[in-house]
């Protein structure tokens, strides 16, 4: 990742994220400049990578998976999302078409996690308060 998180097609832009830990085989990233807002890169530096973002209290905030072209294909978030519930809501965006520019396109599905998805990813959800009746689709 580089200039604001883009792969930049083989260029060597300035890194804007650093690895600050790992959960299993998933890197935990943070902006190199602590004054910057929290976010994950729009494209991965390494093809097929996965990254987690924790908030300033160490609570899970976002997870992204990228494909072989470095594009986002799946995202899980834990934050205010009023359309899905009150307060911080654990939810998933499954991209019908890869890439951040399709994040809110009609082909991308946003919903609560299934129980199967929750079981698959739960090790990443550091500090998340789970109320099964509230958070599962």
């Amino acid at each position: 990742m580089g200039g604001r998180g883009t792969y930049s097609a083989g260029q060597f832009p300035r890194y804007t994220y650093e690895t600050v830990g790992k959960i299993g085989d998933v890197k935990v990233l943070a902006p190199t400049d602590s004054a910057k807002a929290l976010k994950l890169p729009e494209e991965s530096h390494t093809a097929g990578n996965k990254y987690v973002l924790l908030d300033k209290d160490g609570v899970f905030h976002q997870y992204r998976e990228y494909n072989s072209n470095h594009e986002v294909v799946l995202e899980i978030g834990y934050h205010y999302e009023r359309a899905l519930g009150k307060g911080d809501v654990l939810h998933i965006h499954v991209h019908g078409k890869p890439g951040i520019d399709n994040h809110n396109s009609p082909s991308t599905v946003k919903r609560k996690l299934t129980r199967t998805e929750y079981q698959k990813y739960k090790k990443l959800f550091k500090g998340v308060k789970i109320n099964e009746g509230k958070y599962f689709s």
């Binding site: 807002a37 976010k39 934050h79 205010y80 520019d101 396109s105």
Partner: protein, 101 residues
């Protein structure tokens, strides 16, 4: 603006499909996102506004909606909207802290 530059904030709205963004303005918390309406033909950039005087128990106040045929139209309406205590994003930006996005 803290957390983003104003240019980053505005550019990302157009280039990243209306990215999820959380920010503070005075005693308010905002969650910004875009979404297509159910028929897929109209796009909506929306900001949920919360009373943030007690950050652990934010109270929902209202949703600001900007509709358009594309994101550029939505962002254009957002740019001109005085939704921050009567200020536009350009007038309010010095008091905005972006937390996420």
């Amino acid at each position: 603006m803290k957390g983003n530059t104003l240019a980053e904030f505005m550019d990302d709205l157009l280039s990243m499909d209306g990215p999820e963004r959380e920010f503070l303005f005075r005693d308010r918390f905002f969650f910004l996102e875009s979404a297509y309406q159910e028929n897929g033909s109209v796009l909506e950039l929306y900001l949920d506004e919360y009373d943030n005087r007690n950050p652990q128990d934010k109270v929902f106040l209202t949703t600001h909606r900007f509709l358009g045929q594309n994101l550029s139209e939505c962002v254009g309406k957002f740019e001109n909207a005085a939704i921050f205590d009567g200020l536009t994003i350009y007038e309010a930006e010095k008091e905005i802290e972006v937390l996420f996005g």
